[in-house]
Symmetry: C2
Subunit: 748 residues, 2 copies
Amino acid sequence: MYRALARFMNKSLRAWVLLCLAGCVYTVNVQAQHPNLVITSEDVRAMREAVTQSGGFAEAFQELVSQVEGLMSQPIQVPTPQDGGGGYSHERHKKNYQLMYNAAVLYQLTENTAYAKFVADMLLQYAAMYPDLPLHPKRKMNFQNPGKLYWQSLNEAMWLVYTIQAYDMIAASLEPADKASIIQKLLRPMALFLSEGQPSTFDKVHNHGTWATAAVGMTGYVLGEAEWVEKALYGLDKSGKSGFLKQLDELFSPQGYYNEGPYYQRFALLPFITFAQAINNNQPHRDIFKHRDEVLLKAIDTTIQLSYNGLFFPINDAIKSKGIETIELVHGVTLAYSLTGDTGYLDIAQKQGQIVLTGAGLKVAQALEANSATHYQFKSVAFGDGADGKQGALVVMRNADANHPGANNGSAVLFKPAAQGLGHGHFDKLTWQFYHKGAEIVSDYGAARFLNVEAKYGGRYLPENTSYAKQTVAHNTLVVDETSHFNGELAKANRHHPTLELFATNHSGSVVSAQIDSAYAGVNLERTMALLEITGQANPLVLDIFNVSSDSPRQLDLPVHYLGQLISSNFKRHANTTQLSPLGNANGYQHLWLKAQGKPYKGLAKVTLLNDNGSFYTLSTLTKGDEQFLFTQIGANDPDFNLRNEQAVIRRVEGAKQHTFVSVFEPHGDYNPSKEYTLNASSQLSAIEYETRGDLLLVQLVLNGTSYLIAIDKLKRAEGVETAFKFKNQSYSLSGPLAVYLMTNDLE
Amino acid sequence: MYRALARFMNKSLRAWVLLCLAGCVYTVNVQAQHPNLVITSEDVRAMREAVTQSGGFAEAFQELVSQVEGLMSQPIQVPTPQDGGGGYSHERHKKNYQLMYNAAVLYQLTENTAYAKFVADMLLQYAAMYPDLPLHPKRKMNFQNPGKLYWQSLNEAMWLVYTIQAYDMIAASLEPADKASIIQKLLRPMALFLSEGQPSTFDKVHNHGTWATAAVGMTGYVLGEAEWVEKALYGLDKSGKSGFLKQLDELFSPQGYYNEGPYYQRFALLPFITFAQAINNNQPHRDIFKHRDEVLLKAIDTTIQLSYNGLFFPINDAIKSKGIETIELVHGVTLAYSLTGDTGYLDIAQKQGQIVLTGAGLKVAQALEANSATHYQFKSVAFGDGADGKQGALVVMRNADANHPGANNGSAVLFKPAAQGLGHGHFDKLTWQFYHKGAEIVSDYGAARFLNVEAKYGGRYLPENTSYAKQTVAHNTLVVDETSHFNGELAKANRHHPTLELFATNHSGSVVSAQIDSAYAGVNLERTMALLEITGQANPLVLDIFNVSSDSPRQLDLPVHYLGQLISSNFKRHANTTQLSPLGNANGYQHLWLKAQGKPYKGLAKVTLLNDNGSFYTLSTLTKGDEQFLFTQIGANDPDFNLRNEQAVIRRVEGAKQHTFVSVFEPHGDYNPSKEYTLNASSQLSAIEYETRGDLLLVQLVLNGTSYLIAIDKLKRAEGVETAFKFKNQSYSLSGPLAVYLMTNDLE
């Protein structure tokens, strides 16, 4: 520990000496050089040069100048804290830290003291107010640790993360008395308040803890408080059982997956990458970016991988319009490129179209101008969940065409045998989604929320987020007896997770299998899905085999929520044309209008949709005549029109102890009313046969008159190990977990 | 007549002589040179050169080569006619004429005789079949004149329009015997069949007649049958009471508006511009493009003007995805540029992104490569309807930002005091639509049809097109006693039209007023709308004053159909949360689920929406407490899920002899969940006052605390003529029909 501290001091002094050699006249400050958090004095030299030239970096700079000048022309407002989220004082204090940060950046880039003075003036107003502030009047003690500027300390930590950087950038310009006042009345008390003042948050291995440790640790670097840095890294007791490093070890899986899902992963990323850069600049010997086999880089990359056509897969509580253009991921991609030099990240940076005014941002801007971008490769991956990566997984399967961000025609399956993901998790074990030609087709509702729209429940999560969006029936997975997984109980859900039994990718496509026996007492759910690339087929097919076994007869519902218009079904539907009623009373069913139902005979039951992307999609289900098809629309029991009125088809089996739902989801055709042609509006699939032989699943598909045999070996035999079997009097040899064979004999 | 013929022969011979001087060894053909319809031999010389160089024209050529080569590699199929629209023989014969046309173009461009031989072979197969063909077995004698290749003669005329051009381009390559066979067995009999064989269509002043006259006239030019040309131009009796020139005189208004609306205008355009080019090339003295003050050019330009963000305003039976990229308008814009040299058309051509392989197409390609495009100017226009331009009008009002095709942030109001527009017209006198930030906000359902989707009623107009889409309640205009305008009777509707009372545009915006007393017996409907540009307001506002007076008490419904999510209303809504029923029994009402209703107190009733474009919209209605607000969703009595489930709010007054609906539609704010900000989610409008003084309408609006007075003078005083009036103790001077004043005294 002392060695580390010695090194830190050593490096700090060395850098300061270098800085002074470069011509500065700072008063001696043994605690720290300035700036040296995310932006370093070395960065600043290059950045000052870049803003005088043309290019993306200079443009971003000019944009910031005009934005900040506009805001600086208004009087400084540092209101007494009184409002909750969305209210005036809350929003004002948020804007203030952004403005201080931006003005401080401009001070570094332009050396115009007006920027520094503006930041100093605002800091002094905060310093005048802060010491006497009580806990925030809108605090909610049972839910969140309170702040003083804000109702929750999370916002206070965010305030300090930005403000300490602003301070770091203008510190050298401050009069000694002002500096002392800002340090003593504002920065020190706030850092202490956020650490010793709230051990339960500071020592929590949770995203809120990350903001607190980042704020306190960065303040430690700037004020030369090595002890604060140690506490930030290892917890208040410095044992390493909590703190930033523990958060890095626990909050991400070894592959860099954050178990609340990509929407929150993106949000969680920012304090990690901000503090990590500060650590790297102040204590490079820690090799923080190498920590845990480069987990932070993996976390950035995983966030990108968990997107389709620029938007994150909207699992759990997610606002669906969030994607790779979010500012957190702009910072992440900027860092990833500057650390790795991997030109694939420039592809993403190009799509983001935003340049960050940091040293790393300058590298990105220059590389983009040199046309160095190469295709970023999207992959098929099972992202292990949990700190050990073994608590289930979040699985993405993509076809070859979907491997780079420009390829909006590709197909992607998102399959979720993942852990619950804490309070923002949905009760949707083994759910899936399907994407094709740039669009979400088999859909996830995401969160029921209009972010920041006051008229919609204050912009918070709507009541329907709990009553509908989190419920199992709102997802594309199995509901037993109209109740949600784990009976909708979070504590129970957090204790259990599915088991990933198989995941493999080869030239025939990708396959995944997972099961869970804890979602319902006495019921085992096992789902095998494959994204099949069949030679000669224009689009990959999704094969879905959902096997349910129960200790007693149950009602089994398996929904497919879709975005599009119902075109047809090959069985009779009885529509409720003059009166609609909800499908059920609780657990999300109360929000579904039952629009029609049908009970197809034995054989292949087909439902065809048309999406606005111009493609048709047919869900073909192999039925024995025991499956009812219910056609629903969201919107019942929604007095405030809070829900989107989307459609679903639900397959229902009643009183079953065992049932296997076997289906194929098939994209086909092209609807082009502008050019007046419609191609292949009908499904090409005319038959499915299905059988199991121990761990071997065999599925025969007849497509356009040609038979294909799909073999899936759940024993996970390695590629190259041959398994021989016979099917319909023909011999096959299977090598690996997935194969597609062209059958030379036809259906009998 | 004889002089014209003499000139025609003369020109024809002269051109032929020139052609032979250029080195050809044709047998003497006194009837015509080849080619000389849309593509001339002079065009061909330049085109042959262009395809050897790089550029858009050469790219379009290469694309066509690969497409045609692919199709030519398959055996020629000329099936016996047996199927109706969408069936095999129907689609095959359609593909055949396109293929013959394209192969013939390639023959001209490459002089590769394989293309000519392919066309000749196919023509000979048609020639072998045609003489013995009976009328088509799927003919519907009561509806359409039948063809022989197709169920309706319309398709046969289209076949000949393309095929005569293909023949014209390969004729020089034919063996005399083959040529004689094609002329005698195919071209002559078909031209006679389409003219003398079906006088009722040939002499009809209707789009179907245009295709017939174009086919016959063009065949006349090629075969040297001057008589056929005369009949095509002046009708079978050559009196001029029918024929192509009469069609030009009657089917368009003086401003070039086609009264079925832009969707059908685009479709109707093609035979006009095709035949006109043939006329111009063969009989330039006719000055066909100058005919009726250049009505054909005006028709092309009007079609462009009737679009927003690339899509046509979807009034009447319209497929909503049709727009400026349709092939008909590609030909139209190509012609318009080549005739006028107006570089604004290149702006549109650029958006279309398609190059036509004609002489005119080459000019466009070359001009685009020279970067000659300038902004095409979209305007605010009242397009007079009917042959005299006095049967009402279709009105477009745009704000300044919406004046060019790149400006997707602009606002546009479409207002429809137009005539019925024949069989494809909707019963929607005085309806309106609103567009903003690239999106349709106040919406028109368009046609209920899935074009060419066999599973949806054979791809034809759905039954719901009549039962819903055409009905008045499906539009944004007034419904009396739950019945449609003219009681939904087409013959009656065709006899009447609204009167355009006022249309004006100045720096304060645009204003329009129209009325009709024939939509309902004993009821007068009068609507005044303005798109107001108020200094300091981010967006224009739409003012809507709908005055209804009746000879007896009636129920008055005024719907606003919208695309978006309901955010809030400032009055209590009683929602039907557990059971939905249709709003009515007939005239479209049977398709509307009643989701909620409310009856606001006296004052300003507000309903706020959020569109996917990220903007909020508030409808503020000045009520006396006598208006009910009904919230509906389309989808009742729709057993086949044929309708889109869109929303509306309907203002209802019961038992009224007179009522004025006064409202403002206000775009505001910005919802950006990706960047996590929401601005101005609330309407800025806090009060409306309204009064009339004879022809003067006075409306006071309070926006963000500032009062504005809107004055509309329906007397249509010219700009510059001053009218003095007082309002709230202040004097005003009105010059022109519309003014917006900043009020210095506030609301009392």
